[in-house]
C-alpha cells in the first residue's frame, strides 16, 4: 500500500507553520466553505466520513459531536487533547510543530459545528516549541479575522486559548484533563455524566485529539467520498504513523489505515542491521504487544482488535532481539506506578505491587509462584480501576507472558541484564563504561 501524505504533504515547506504558508497550500478554504453551511450538516459530514478518534480509543468523532445537546441555551466548549504522553506516541507534537494551522482551522470548524464559542488547546507543558508554534498560529489567525467576533462575516464568534499543562500523563484521560483545565489536580471523574453533557464547567464539552481535529479541514474541504477512498469501511481515512525503535529510518509516515506493519517497516528501511523483530506495539505502551508473526495484519481498529491488541495511537514501537522483554515491561510498569493519580485503590496500590514484583524478576530474583501472582494482580486491576490508566497498567505483563514466558522463567535466577547485554540495544556505537 502506498504512502499518502495529506496532513504531512507540505511539511517540507518551512513556511507552512505561518498563516501565509498554510494559505499558500489551500489553508482556510475549508473554513470559508464550512461557515456557509448549517452546523448540523458539518456534523453529518463528519459522521458520514466515519472518522474515528486518533487519540487511542477510536470512538467515532461525528457521533461524539452529536451527543452535545443543541439549542439548550448553555455554553458549549471544545477542548483539544494535546497532552500527548503515551509512551511511544509521537505524532501530535510533530503535527503541532510542522502544521499548526491545520489544527487551528480544525478547531474553528469544529467549534462552529458544535456551537462552541470557547475552545481550549491543552498542550502538555514539556513541549514549549509545540506550544509556541500553536500559540503563534492562533495569534495569526486572530489577526486575520479567522478567530474572534463575526468570523468572515458569518456571525460566528470564537475565542481560542492555548493552555500549557504541567507534567501529568493522567491528564490525557479526558475527564482528568477537564479537572486540570479547571485548575485542579488532574484526576478522572466518574462517568456518566459524560463530557458531552457535563464537561468543562459542567457544560456540554467535546474533547478531541490533535490529529482528529487536524483531519477536519481535509474532510470538510474535500468531502466524504474523497476521505473514504482511504482505509476500510470500519476504519476510514489516513493516519499519521510514527515508527520508532530499532528501525533504520524512524520517523513520521502517513498512510491509509489498513497498511500493514511489514509495509511500514519497509518504508522505514527495515530493522537495523537486518536483525529480527522480537516484539512491537501498534499504538503505545497501553496496547498489548505483538510479535513478528503479526506483521501482515492490516493496521486498522478492527484488525488490531481481532489480533488481541488495539491500534491505539498508531505509533508503532519496534524492538529487536537484543531487548529483554522483562526489562521493557518492568520499565513500563514503573511508568504507570509513577503516573497513577492515586484516586482509586486498585490502580494506586496495584501498580505499586506489580512493579515491585517485576523488579524482582528484572534482577533475577523472581519465583515460579510470582509468575502467576503477577497475573492475579493484573486481573485485580483490569476493569476495576476508575479510569483506563489502571487497565493500561494491567496490559503489558499478560501480553508479554503470552509470547515470552520462557524469559520470565529464566528471570527467576538470571537478571535481565545477564540475559541481554543492555548495550546491545543501544542505537549508538559509542563505548559506555558501566
Amino acid at each position: 500500500m502506498a504512502l499518502t501524505p495529506v496532513i504531512t504533504e507540505f511539511w517540507d515547506d518551512p513556511s507552512l507553520y505561518t498563516l501565509d504558508g498554510y494559505k499558500s497550500h489551500g489553508g482556510y478554504v475549508a473554513l470559508a466553505d464550512a461557515l456557509k453551511q448549517d452546523p448540523d450538516s458539518i456534523i453529518a459530514t463528519v459522521k458520514d466520513s466515519g472518522l474515528r478518534g486518533r487519540g487511542g480509543a477510536g470512538f467515532p468523532t461525528g457521533l461524539k459531536w452529536s451527543f452535545v445537546p443543541q439549542n439548550d441555551g448553555k455554553e458549549h466548549y471544545l477542548v483539544v487533547n494535546a497532552d500527548e504522553s503515551e509512551p511511544g506516541a509521537c505524532k501530535d507534537i510533530p503535527i503541532m510543530i510542522a502544521n499548526p494551522h491545520a489544527l487551528v482551522e480544525g478547531v474553528i470548524i469544529t467549534s462552529y459545528a458544535i456551537r462552541a464559542s470557547h475552545a481550549f488547546i491543552y498542550i502538555r507543558g514539556e513541549v514549549p516549541h509545540a506550544i509556541r508554534r500553536v500559540a503563534l498560529a492562533v495569534e495569526q489567525a486572530r489577526a486575520a479575522g479567522l478567530i474572534g467576533n463575526d468570523i468572515l462575516g458569518s456571525g460566528f464568534d470564537l475565542n481560542i486559548v492555548v493552555h500549557a499543562g504541567a507534567g501529568a500523563y493522567i491528564c490525557g484521560e479526558e475527564t482528568a484533563l477537564l479537572d486540570s483545565l479547571e485548575g485542579y489536580r488532574g484526576q478522572p471523574r466518574l462517568k456518566p455524566p459524560f463530557p458531552a453533557v457535563a464537561g468543562l464547567y459542567a457544560s456540554p464539552t467535546v474533547i478531541n485529539n490533535v490529529e482528529t481535529i487536524a483531519n477536519i479541514p481535509y474532510i470538510v474541504g474535500r468531502g466524504v467520498d474523497w476521505f473514504r477512498q482511504f482505509g476500510t469501511e470500519k476504519s476510514p481515512g489516513f493516519k499519521v504513523f510514527a515508527v520508532s525503535g530499532h528501525v533504520k529510518r524512524p520517523g513520521i509516515y502517513e498512510a491509509p489505515l489498513g497498511i500493514t506493519m511489514r509495509e511500514l517497516l519497509d518504508y522505514a528501511g527495515g530493522m537495523r542491521d537486518g536483525r529480527p523483530v522480537k516484539f512491537w506495539l501498534p499504538g503505545g505502551s497501553s496496547v498489548p504487544m505483538l510479535t513478528a508473526e503479526h506483521l501482515d495484519i492490516p493496521l486498522t481498529y478492527e484488525d488490531m482488535a481481532a489480533a488481541g491488541t488495539m491500534l491505539g495511537t498508531g505509533t508503532p514501537m519496534m524492538f529487536d532481539d537484543t531487548v529483554s522483554v522483562v526489562k521493557a515491561v518492568t520499565r513500563w510498569l514503573e511508568f504507570y506506578k509513577h503516573e497513577s493519580c492515586g484516586k482509586c485503590t486498585p490502580c494506586r496500590e496495584g501498580t505499586y505491587w506489580i512493579t515491585g514484583v517485576l523488579e524482582k524478576f528484572e534482577h533475577g530474583h523472581g519465583s515460579s509462584e510470582e509468575v502467576e501472582t503477577l497475573v492475579t494482580l493484573c486481573n485485580q486491576i483490569s476493569g476495576r480501576s476508575f479510569c483506563a490508566l489502571g487497565d493500561a497498567a494491567a496490559t503489558p505483563y499478560p501480553a508479554a507472558l503470552k509470547y515470552f514466558r520462557d524469559e520470565f522463567d529464566a528471570a527467576i535466577t538470571t537478571s535481565a541484564d545477564e540475559q541481554f547485554n543492555p548495550s546491545a540495544s543501544y542505537v549508538f556505537a559509542e563505548a559506555v563504561s558501566r
Binding site: A2, P87, E126, P128, G183, S285, S425, Y426
Partner: protein
C-alpha cells in the same frame, strides 16, 4: 525573591483569559516558577490571592504536577527520557553519564544550578534517545554528545536545540509556558529529517494521496 508588580499584573492577565479564573492556575504556577526557578510559598500565595482560593488549595495543585519544582533551578533543567523505548535504546547510559558529569541524581540540583531529572515519555520516540534542556528538544543523543551539551552550557556557550531555538534558561522556558508568544517560533530546524521521512519516501516513489475532487 520578591514578586514584582509586573508579575502580579501578568498573573491577573492569565486569570482574565478564562471564563472561570481558576482555570489559569497551571499557567500561573509556571509564571511564578519563572521568577524564582521553583514554586515558592510566596508564589503559591500570590496565585491564591489572585484566584480567591486558599494557599492550601493552590499547594495541592502545585504538588500534583511534576514540572513544578521544590528546589530552585538557577540555570538549566536537564531531562533524560528513561521510559522503555528511550531508556533501552541508550537513554539509561545517557542518564548515567550525565549523573556522573553533574554529580547529582534524579530531581536534584547541583552547585552550578543544573537540575537532572529522569523524565517520562517526551513524545519524541522517533528521535530516541531523547534529552531535554529547559524542555527544548535535544534529540538523538549519546552519552558523549549529552555531556558535551552540559559542558558547553557550563562554559556559557550558545547551544542550539535540535528542534527549536537557542537554549535560554529554565526560567525563560517557564515564562514561555505562561505566555507562549515569545518570538521564537520561527526556528528553522523545527521540522527535521525524521519528521519528513515518510514524505521523502513518497516523493521519491511518486506516491500521493488521491486527487482532490473538482467540485470541492
Amino acid at each position: 525573591m520578591t514578586l514584582t508588580s509586573t508579575t502580579r499584573v501578568e498573573l491577573q492577565q492569565l486569570a482574565a483569559q478564562y471564563p472561570q479564573p481558576r482555570s489559569a492556575l497551571l499557567p500561573m504556577l509556571h509564571l511564578v516558577q519563572s521568577v524564582a526557578g521553583e514554586v515558592t510559598a510566596e508564589g503559591i500565595t500570590a496565585c491564591a490571592e489572585v484566584l480567591g482560593i486558599t494557599a492550601a488549595e493552590a499547594t495541592a495543585v502545585a504538588t500534583f504536577y511534576t514540572m513544578y519544582k521544590r528546589d530552585a533551578v538557577a540555570q538549566h533543567h536537564i531531562g533524560v527520557c528513561t521510559n522503555t523505548l528511550c531508556g533501552l535504546l541508550g537513554g539509561d547510559a545517557v542518564y548515567d553519564a550525565l549523573s556522573a558529569r553533574l554529580g547529582v541524581g534524579h530531581n536534584q540540583v547541583n552547585a552550578d544550578g543544573f537540575m537532572l531529572e529522569r523524565i517520562e515519555c517526551q513524545a519524541a520516540c522517533t528521535h530516541a534517545p531523547v534529552m531535554t534542556v529547559d524542555w527544548e528538544f535535544m534529540d538523538d543523543v549519546t552519552p558523549g554528545t549529552a555531556v558535551a551539551v552540559v559542558d558547553a552550557l557550563s562554559r556559557g556557550e550558545q547551544v542550539q536545540a535540535t528542534r527549536g531555538p537557542v537554549i535560554r534558561s529554565f526560567v525563560a522556558t517557564e515564562h514561555t509556558l505562561a505566555f507562549p508568544l515569545d518570538g521564537l517560533a520561527a526556528a528553522d530546524n523545527s521540522v527535521d529529517d525524521k519528521m519528513l521521512a515518510g514524505l521523502r519516501v513518497a516523493q521519491e516513489r511518486n506516491m500521493s494521496a488521491p486527487s482532490i475532487p473538482q467540485e470541492h
